[in-house]
Structure formats: structure tokens, C-alpha cells
Symmetry: C2
DNA sequence: CCTTGCCTTGACGTGCGCGTCAAGGTTTAG
DNA sequence: CTAAACCTTGACGCGCACGTCAAGGCAAGG
């Protein structure tokens, strides 16, 4: 399939696919006229990238997963480097959760302090 | 005081202060030679901006607080617009917390699935 | 032959909060 | 007189993941 169809199947854009290629994440065969030609394996790679991005990973983070699939593994996360990314990301997420909880408490305290009626009517917190 | 001293007192840079001015967040008197001249009230404004940024607010978010202080209020969050920003930010934080918790569970599930020994030795989760 | 719709590379734009020169003017210490 | 340490405006850079145009080549339908 050509780049337009791959984009359609993966639910992305041709621009994104060309960008992945420029970053060395995706390779493509070329037809005699210079068009990129992809197969189902490439679609698999793109979907791997997308699902990882969906959980907040950068394109750099996806490299080990793509390499793992390229190496012939069934899933992109069955290689040590990929799992290391998982662990690092988990640590980042935990740190972010801690921070956000602190921020949340700060905001709640400020709102409560400034607007005592909200303490009496916590309904405001749920509906807006 | 001039811009360098204000920056030093606030623990920021002259570039940041000039940027705030370009965004209409900070105003400055000018001495005859064109130098910016600030007073303690301006230092207060800068500190307000910084403390809000520290909890993840954008410069746009800080506008109502600055305006509130300019209007003569004791604290920047004693005006309706400021409290509205607090509430909006709280909603964003809550949404972000939900999302991060989902991501966290995804990562934990993946790590557990791929690396069963981590289930037996959760020590890995704490020390790296 | 012409239009339509695909494809190519290249290059600049986006948002945000400044950092980092560039090229100069001012003030103060020695 | 000169050097150091301030100050001024202006303009480009950064990171990230592309979006968006530009200018053109290729293939198929009518």
C-alpha cells in the first residue's frame, strides 16, 4: 500500500508518517516512480507508535519498541530496552501524580480559604 | 530599583521581567535615561506570577491575579476572576490525575505481563 | 488533452516562556 | 581615559510533533 492508504488505515496523516521516517522510526520500499510502498508489518509499527504516544510517550520513547518489533518479536514490549522505558515512564508518572496531588491540595485550600461558602456547599466542586 | 535588582530579589532574570512587560503583566516607570524603575509593589506582582507558575499555571492564567493586586486587593486571589481560574485549573488537574492513573495502570499491567518476576519482587518498583 | 487525485521534497509555522546573542548607550570605579 | 557593569531594543533559537503551504511529478478517467 502507498502512504495515503497507510495513513488512512492507521488513522493518521501522511505528514506524520513521513516525519516518522525522517526520525528513523519507519522505513519504506520505493516503487520505480519514487512512491513509498508499505505492507502490513509497517502498519503494525505505526499502530505501536500510536498506542505508545497515546499513553504519553515521546517518539524517542517508542524507538526501543519499534526496534523490538523489527527484530522479529511478537510484541514491541518484550525486549529489555522497551521494559526499561516502561519503568522509566512509570517513575515519571508517579512523580507527576505526586506533584499534581500537591497542586490539587493547594488549589482546594485556596478556594476554601477565599470562598468559605464552597466549604458549606461542596456541590460546586462536582458540577462545574 | 532597576531591572537587575528586581530580578535578583525575585530570583528570576531580566529577560523574564521584560517578557512579562511585553505581555502586559508588568509595567515600569522609566528614569530620564530610559531605564526601567520598579518598587516593592512590582516585586509583589512578580512573586505572585512566580508562585502561580510554580503550581503549573500559564502566564495567561496569572492575568486575573495580577489585575486583582493592581486593583488594590491584598491578595491576588480575592477576586472572582482569579477564583474562576483556580476552579478551572482544579478541573484540569483532576482530569490529568484521572488520565495519569489510567496510564499508570496500563504501565503496571504491561510490566507485570512482560516481566512476571517483578510481580514476585516489587522491590524493583521502589528503587529505580 | 484536461482534470482529478494521488505522490514527491523542501521549508517555514505553531505554542510557550523565555535563553541567547547583537549592537549599542549610561554610569561608576579606578 | 578606560574598563566594568549596568541598561536599552530587536531578533532569532529551542523543544516537540507534526500542520501547512509551495512547486512540481505521476497515473487514471472522460
Amino acid at each position: 500500500m502507498r502512504i495515503g492508504e497507510l495513513a488512512k488505515r492507521a488513522g493518521t496523516t501522511t505528514r506524520a508518517l513521513r516525519f516518522y521516517e525522517s526520525q528513523g522510526l519507519l522505513e519504506a520500499q520505493r516503487t520505480p516512480n519514487g512512491y513509498r510502498e508499505y505492507d502490513d508489518h509497517d502498519l503494525r509499527l505505526v499502530r505501536e507508535i500510536q498506542s505508545l504516544q497515546a499513553v504519553g510517550m515521546s517518539l524517542e520513547d517508542t524507538r526501543p519498541f519499534v526496534a523490538c518489533l523489527r527484530a522479529g518479536h511478537e510484541s514491541g514490549d518484550s525486549c529489555p530496552d522497551s521494559r526499561e522505558v516502561y519503568r522509566r515512564k512509570l517513575a515519571e508518572v508517579d512523580a507527576c501524580l505526586d506533584r499534581l496531588n500537591t497542586v490539587r491540595e493547594f488549589l482546594l485550600a485556596r478556594l476554601a480559604f477565599q470562598d468559605p461558602c464552597l466549604v458549606a456547599e461542596p456541590k460546586e466542586f462536582q458540577c462545574s
